[in-house]
């Protein structure tokens, strides 16, 4: 009831639950995502997805349908509008429909699950994403991943590895995936399913076939636990960050799949040594990191790399703040080193 316009909490890290869920569901190529809410909730997200997909040379428009709620539906209830949108989407060439909620339909109490459970001739999957309930972008992702995982049936373990919860909006999403796939291939392991990145709906059925799940980040542990409880698949909680973490990642993945990973780890260790050697010109320069923009894992990885390079933190005014990226694997370290070189020689 306060009319004070000054925001007390300036944090922008939580994000929108709906956007998090859309970043997942829009990557099922042959499904439609319905956003049950006012038009703006989908428009904003279509723009965001379109822009970030273009950055990754993926020049298609996300298939997002809005129920276009107006004040009339808010007053009289929006379930009929949702029913119409689902029926309309079901008439198109689509394999499944995901229904995402918004703040306003959460407020007026539309029973989305009940509407979704009616008969439309194809799977209609509700994902709760009303952001005002306190959820974050990450919660939206997790809710969507779990809702999609529920589509899968029991299946035979045919091996391979699932990549869980890639950050589809990040600039380096393809590079990061390629690096993890490369690290796994060193130990002779291959990817079963990118859950969820540019896949067909029927591929979801095969999620239980993998022998190991690799989560993009520890924030996805609830999803990892869900899949472990349902299919018995163990998980590694994060993509690797930093030199030693990358080596132990290869070791853990191999071990989880019952493979001896020593040789693969050895190969990667020499590759890393060679890489660091190529950046000798950075030695003994003074530098440190800005902790405010990075997570603890990233800072730890950057410090380890600085140590390997003999960079000294420096206490005088000549210390340079180095960029710390969420560098994945050895390839991520290489990119970070190039950025450091640019910063230090600038």
């Amino acid at each position: 009831m306060s009319s004070n316009p000054l925001p007390v909490n300036l944090s922008r890290l939580g994000g929108c639950t709906l956007t998090g869920a859309i970043s997942v569901t829009s990557h099922v190529r042959d499904a439609v995502t319905i956003v049950h809410g006012p038009k703006g909730c989908s428009h904003h997200n279509v723009s965001l997805l379109h822009a970030s997909w273009l950055d990754n040379d993926h020049a298609v428009l996300p298939v997002l349908v809005s129920t276009g709620l107006s004040e009339t539906e808010v007053i009289f209830g929006g379930e009929e509008a949702l029913r119409r949108a689902i029926a309309h989407a079901a008439g198109r060439d689509t394999r499944a429909i995901f229904v995402l909620s918004t703040c306003i339909v959460g407020t007026i109490g539309d029973d989305i699950e009940a509407v979704c459970s009616e008969e439309y001739g194809l799977p209609v999957i509700p994902v709760p994403t009303a952001g005002f309930l306190g959820g974050t972008f990450q919660d939206g992702m997790n809710n969507a991943l779990i809702a999609l995982a529920e589509c899968a049936g029991p299946c035979r373990n045919t091996g391979g590895i699932n990549i869980i919860g890639e950050m589809n909006l990040e600039y380096e999403v393809e590079e990061n995936f390629a690096e993890v796939a490369r690290l796994l291939s060193l130990a002779g392991l291959s990817v079963n399913l990118r859950f969820v990145h540019d896949i067909a709906y029927r591929q979801l059925y095969g999620i239980g076939a993998a022998q190991l799940n690799i989560l993009r980040s520890p924030a996805l542990i609830p999803v990892g636990e869900y899949l472990r409880d349902r299919f018995g698949t163990p998980f590694i909680p994060s993509f690797p960050h930093g030199l030693s973490d990358t080596l132990s990642f290869i070791g853990s993945a191999a071990e989880a799949c019952g493979i001896d990973g020593k040789q693969a780890v050895g190969e990667e260790r020499s590759r890393q040594a060679e890489l660091v050697d190529g950046f000798k010109d950075l030695r003994h320069l003074h530098a440190s990191f800005d902790p405010s923009l990075s997570g603890a894992d990233e800072i730890r990885a950057a410090e380890e790399l600085a140590h390997a390079l003999d960079l000294s933190p420096g206490t005088d005014g000549h210390t340079l703040l180095l960029p710390v990226g969420p560098a994945v694997g050895t390839a991520g370290i290489r990119r970070m080193l190039h950025r450091w070189r640019r910063a230090l020689h600038a």
Binding site: T72, E73, V74, I75, G77, I108
Partner: protein, 270 residues
């Protein structure tokens, strides 16, 4: 123009009191408008010969806002009283509070809010911001609580005092508590109890309306008591209420009671 709103627990007799008050006011040669702010839409029935008039929200739902005009939503009933029902969604869906807000915006757009007195008859509990709309700036400045001596009814009245107190603290708000109307159910010492309750919340009991079977008789004949039996004693109470409302200038910021205070008050008068 005087704008008053009647609030109170569901089923306490707000609509009956409002309709009779409007009817009595119209007898004082005043131009009256009554607006029912409840999805149940039965506030103005007794002024309309028992007719459920189309509601603003019904019309908006069917025709869209652009297809609705002033003459579609205002109906002239007993003694020239202009009647409006806000209406709202079916029970259990949507957002009735938003419906009230939309109705007010539309009436404002039409310039419908005019006359000597506007009586707002509002849903029992102020469950959300929408039902506080009639108390906001530009609408009712005088709030009357309708209550009996029953504890639940006093609870509701006390809660409405909280809403008025909160709104009154806003800089531009002119909304004040104008008094308590005792719509008696006939329990012993009821008038004393309501007088004391009104005093404790920093107000006054403006009218005691005894329980009388004639109210039900008028209702089955689809009329207000004023119309059905103008010479009855009950009609006299409603006319007296109308006079006090017109004379009343004592507007206060209420001081709602704590729950245990309210309960011990009710115990005193058992």
């Amino acid at each position: 123009m005087k704008q008053i709103a009647l609030y109170g627990k569901g089923g306490i007799g707000k609509s009956t009191t409002s309709a009779n008050l409007s009817a009595a006011l119209s007898g004082m040669n005043l131009s009256i408008m009554q607006i029912g702010c409840d999805p149940k839409r039965d506030s103005t029935r007794m002024l309309m010969q028992g007719r459920f008039i189309p509601t603003v929200m019904d019309l908006v739902r069917v025709r869209g806002e652009a297809g609705v005009s002033l003459s579609d939503v205002v109906f002239t009933g007993y003694n020239g009283i202009r009647c409006v029902e806000a209406g709202g969604p079916e029970p259990g869906v949507g957002c009735a509070g938003r419906g009230i807000i939309a109705t007010f915006q539309l009436l404002e757009k039409f310039g419908a809010l005019q006359g000597d007195v506007i009586v707002y008859d509002v849903l029992g509990d102020v469950v959300c911001g929408g039902f506080a709309m009639p108390m906001r700036e530009g609408y009712a400045q005088e709030i009357y609580l309708v209550t009996s001596g029953e504890l639940m009814s006093l609870y509701a009245a006390n809660n409405i005092c909280r809403a008025v107190q909160r709104l009154a603290s806003r800089v531009k708000s002119k909304c004040r508590l104008a008094g308590v109307i005792c719509n008696a159910r006939g329990q012993p010492r009821e008038e004393e109890l309501i007088t004391e309750f009104a005093r404790r919340v920093n107000s006054t009991m403006v009218q005691y309306i005894p329980r009388d079977h004639i109210v039900q008789q008028a209702e089955v004949n689809q009329q207000t008591v004023i119309e059905f039996s103008p010479d009855s004693a009950q009609a006299g109470y409603y006319r007296s209420l109308a006079e006090r409302v017109m004379e009343n200038t004592w507007m206060t910021i209420p001081t709602p009671l704590e729950i245990d205070e309210l309960e011990s008050l009710a115990r005193e008068f058992i």
